[in-house]
Symmetry: C2
Subunit: 132 residues, 2 copies
DNA sequence: TCAAACCCTCACATCAATGTGAATGCAAAC
DNA sequence: GTTTGCATTCACATTGATGTGAGGGTTTGA
């Protein structure tokens, strides 16, 4: 897969794919002419990168986390590479993610509660109007 | 409360407090000399703003959501002001929050699963070694 | 009264993510 | 073989969230 196709499959501009590579988030083979060549997993990886960027993480943090987030199943574990410092950093990062999740959850729930208060969801309306 | 005290209570630089005001996230009375004067609720509001910013929302979105997130209990409801378009926008925003939450949750779980795989948590270790 | 500490506005600097364009090269189709 | 489209790199611009400093007024306390 060339960069244009990867861009089409993911909806991410080629400019950004090159940028992610420059930031160490994405790697590509090169064939003789210098064109980047991506394998199938790149699509998943790009969508994962986008999800994390949209969630407010920086490319720097994503680069540090990505090796440990590789898809379900194929966990990339080389315990001997996991220094205590690295483990601590990963735990701290997980805690930061947890804090974000909590903050967003609280606010989403508040938003939904408000909407439901002023404009009860359709099913409720039907129920309360037909049940009387 | 003047801006310096609010800054101390929240840990947010005065520069940022003024910026949030400029972006419509935070409002303040002015007293005769032109100094900003904040009430007690400002502390909560600022920490809420910071949480949302740290979660990757822009000031623009936060400004739109804030009126509907005002603390527990005191829900600021004026249903007659809630046009269908506004309601739809709020629902869309809630959905976006949900997507972020899911993405972050997935990745936090993956991270914790990895950590637990290579370095089981202390309690588990104790359990498995004392229970046999 | 004088200094220190606070406040104001204004403006320029920075950093990360992204847009955009120039100059150039390869490839497939006519 | 020339055109058309996609690829390359390089470089400058922009946007949003911040940092930082200049220049000037206010409050407070010795």
């Amino acid at each position: 897969m060339k960069i244009g196709q990867l861009s089409q499959h993911t909806g991410v501009p080629t400019r950004m794919l090159r940028y992610y590579e420059e930031q160490g988030l994405l790697c590509a083979e090169r064939d003789a002419n210098g064109y980047r060549r991506y394998d199938q997993g790149a699509v998943h990886r790009v969508t994962q990168i986008r999800g994390l960027l949209d969630s407010g993480l920086t490319t720097e943090i994503i680069a540090k986390l990505l090796p440990y987030l590789d898809g379900p199943g194929q966990i990339h574990l080389h315990p001997q590479c996991l220094t205590p410092e690295l483990a601590a950093m990963l735990r701290a990062e997980a805690a930061r993610l947890g804090a974000r999740i909590d903050c967003l959850s609280r606010n989403r729930d508040a938003l939904l509660a408000y909407l439901d208060a002023v404009q009860p969801s359709t099913s409720d309306v039907i129920l309360s109007s037909t049940a009387r």
